[in-house]
Amino acid sequence: VSLPTGPEFDELRTEYRQGMVAKLAALDAQWAQAVTGDAGAHQALVRALHTIAGSAGTFGLPAIGDAARAAENFLYEKGAKLGGEDRQRFVLLLEELRATALANE
């Protein structure tokens, strides 16, 4: 998967990379709600990860997409009620996503 070449597409790619900072902040806020057992926040978190997983690769950032998909699949498989170990695992997955996204900055 690759983005077409040209200045207008380069601009879009840059915009997408820069937008990751806000997306990560939104994920943190959703996780803070979801961890309390808020099913709506859990759904929103899964959806937000799904969106990143689906779009990052198209913008030439497949590692971000893969990290988001790993976190999405984990939440999808575990459901809304996470135990202590699962919470820790998800935090690590979120950190992996953050590190990957910021490394691409």
Binding site: V1, S2, L3, P4, E8, F9, L12, E15, Y16, G19, R47, H50, T51, A53, G54, S55, A56, G57, T58, F59, P62, G65, R69, N73
Partner: protein, 246 residues
Amino acid sequence: VDTKAVYAVTNKGDAELSGIGTSLSADALKLLVLIDGKRSVKQLMKGAPTLTENAVKDALDKLVRAGIIAPASDVAPAGLDFGFGAADPDESRAGLESLKKTGYFVRIARRAAEPRKPDPKQRINVLVVEDDPQLAKLLKMYLQMENMVTTVAGNREQILAALRTPPKPDLILLDVVLPDVDGLEVLGRIREFEALKTVPVILCTGKATREAVLDGLRRGADGYITKPYNVDVVLKAAKTVLGLPT
């Protein structure tokens, strides 16, 4: 044809699922998505209750004759084999797991029944349903380069507004996971309305399971492209379902 036999997707079949531009019937396409090289057709049919036995036999016959599927014993595992089906005492459960397993990436677009001559004076209206604003912007930019007029909708209200505002779209690119509505539900409603039911719809989604692809095709999608995609692929699929030269 033998519905008790196990069939596998050949390289030619793999190309049908990823090459954009299939001429297979809707039923044949559904069956092709279900075939996993592990379970018999009879077992697979449990996952597709809307397919009648006669439709399955007919589709199976066509797929075998076209070399798109072959008895599993004759086919080396293709790219769409996920290694499922290890001795499981409960075949129906194994079949269900196979349907739900992620990683089933496809690029399906059914050719339009009639080719359409490109006419620079005639604008093609495309409704892009996508809740990621940057991805929507990218699609819009790309489609505009092909002289297509795009409208973007990212939620239920915007979708309704776009469908109620003339001109009627010539094509809908439809994301499935949306904030306040399921794209498959939108597809179902589109297919119920006389004015919209023939409008080609391509599902563009991160839902990459056999179950999701099958569900989309069952509800009347003309194409199914899994994310992340290359925008060139979407454009080619759009032209394919519109009957334009690719």
